[in-house]
Homo-oligomer: 361 residues x 2
């Protein structure tokens, strides 16, 4: 199968648009619900046939689920590793569903539904992982879309539910609401002023957790953090989401304050540092993934601080995602080695930035 990305609305990543509130700091807001279909073993213990039946039950339900009316179905169990990794780079599927560890294949029945407003991972750790993304800081928008999807799908499928514990999930930490609310947030100001440690510590004290750009187990690179709730039980979904939103609003204020301090106390040092990052991205011939992420982070800050004009946050968001190895490999038609990917990444970034500079000039 060749993954036709043009079939995906906005390539499946409309949340890159940098259109929402505080989009210079918050890339995206995401709500996901973990759900399982009653009558089947949890994914990890299910037989191939059970997982395939879960998938076909969801497909059969689609015509009655308005949220997924335009959805396309992507079967990971029929995809090459490049395609699976590409979907993961777009945050459309988890690392687990994409089966990215060396030598592993996606389990049969592994699939993802993608539409403009919401999507569903199928046969991930749970049978269903309903998710909705929004560009910028818009947890309530994402919550509304995910809840609507949850209601619509729940009307068609028998969810595994326990009157005392709530929604049952494969991992007990998800049991209850099955909700995870998260924001993908860019905090270079707090990193540069070395306030970040204190802020992250504060998050944990408030029952929140943070991860890297690609969720659980991923490293923090380029000053991008995923902040999310840690518990899913004992509180209502709205309450969990509003708690996260309140804390994130405070973090945004702290980041804005850090940026003001940087400009005031070290304006020309910061300006120089960020322009150098831009210069390297504009001209380097080989860019390792981590370095590219860090440089893009710097340039994203420069645009936020209005030190650098003629370059949009949208373009930078797209570069973050589209300059990753599976995207470059997909373009090349084969899996690139690390050094080939570094060359291709530098070429891609150079071209996009030169085009953008040309348009701005």
């Amino acid at each position: 199968m060749t993954l036709d990305l043009s079939l995906l609305p906005d390539g499946g990543v409309p949340w890159l648009a940098a259109s929402g509130e505080h989009a210079d700091i918050v890339l995206s807001s995401r709500i996901r619900f973990a759900r399982n279909v009653a009558g089947y073993a949890f994914t990890a213990r299910a037989r191939d046939g059970e997982r395939l039946r879960v998938l076909s039950q969801v497909r059969d339900a689609l015509p009655s689920v308005p949220s997924l009316a335009q959805a396309i179905v992507l079967r990971l169990d029929e995809m090459s590793v490049i395609e699976r990794q590409l979907l993961h780079e777009r945050h459309l599927v988890s690392k687990e569903l994409a089966a990215l560890d060396a030598g592993t294949e996606a389990r049969s029945g592994a699939a993802v539904l993608v539409s403009q407003d919401a999507g569903v991972m199928i046969n991930e750790e749970d049978h269903l992982r309903l998710q909705a993304f929004r560009s910028g800081f818009d947890l309530s928008g994402a919550f509304a879309a995910a809840s609507r999807l949850d209601r619509e799908l729940g009307a068609e499928l028998p969810y595994a539910f326990h009157p005392e514990f709530g929604f049952l999930t494969s991992c007990p930490t998800n049991t209850g609401t099955g909700l995870r609310a998260s924001v993908l947030i860019h905090l270079p100001g707090l990193v540069l002023t070395q306030e970040i440690g204190k802020v992250l510590q504060g998050l944990q004290q408030m029952g929140l957790t943070y991860r890297g750009l690609y969720g659980e187990g991923s490293e923090v690179i380029g000053n991008f953090f995923q902040i999310s709730n840690q518990t899913t039980m004992g509180r209502a979904e709205e309450e969990l989401t509003e708690h996260l939103a309140r804390v994130v609003r405070r973090v945004i204020e702290q980041e804005e304050e850090a940026r003001r301090v940087l400009l005031r106390d070290a304006g020309y040092i910061i300006e120089d540092k960020l322009w150098r990052a831009y210069g390297t991205l504009r001209h380097a011939r080989s860019l390792p993934a981590d370095e590219a992420m860090n440089l893009l982070s710097g340039v994203r800050l420069a645009v936020g601080l209005q030190l650098l004009s003629g370059l949009s946050v949208y373009t930078l968001n797209k570069l973050l995602i589209f300059s990753q190895t599976a995207h470059l490999s997909h373009d090349a038609g084969r899996m690139l080695t690390e050094s080939e990917a570094n060359l291709a990444r530098a070429r891609h970034i150079r071209q996009v930035l030169a085009d953008e500079a040309g348009r701005a000039a």
Copy 2:
């Protein structure tokens, strides 16, 4: 006095033209003769009046010295420290003549004659330091010009000369021919392949010496070396010059070989490194002098290797000289602090490179 640089033919630095043989590797060839006027104490021991008389004797002789027919006379004892430092940055006067140590003033009678082909420092360590520069590798051309000047001036002024020792000089290491032949050479290939140590050691075994961009006591920055003869006595001038020329020709071959090896064994690493240097020069907002020199060195190599087009060695040679602190201070009309100079240097280099890129596009 305001130094009107436009009075100097090519700003006094026609050797930046990158027009001679092997100009991508050899910036310039220089011959100088140390001479003293009989009847006066050596400069360091001379009284003010003596030095002023030496100066006026030279000025009186000028109409009879065709090599200096177009020369302009620049009196360092009437200049600000910015102007003296600027002349030193152009290699027109030594650090000693320019009196650049903090709190010092140029000694009375300190002056320099500058014309297209040759010049004379007056009241340096010796009464007269005759010098001729050529762009690229052209020691014989420089030797011819300096010798002609020496003959013409020697016909007008009584040189201090001893039948056994030769020309007498303030420092005994210059006694004899009073000749110093040198080339200013760019050896990034030998530095990157780590062959440079061996090459420099070889020079010393052959009676040659090396220094940094600004001669005795100056650090080697940006892979620019001055290679010159160490002894001035016991051999004829031509022989000394030809010996240097032979050795330098061999060093040029070694540098060319090193560049071939670099391209063959590490082509894309080198290409990336040099383009990054270019990117930093194009976009940085603050550039310390040493860093600028090192980055310009990298870009100069890239142009030599034809990895980077649309940029001339001539432009890079000019940037090396004209982006130095006294030049930037002269433009600003006052001595810049180090951090001001770093900002001004980055601005100057950005502008020149953007203009050149615009012309090439």
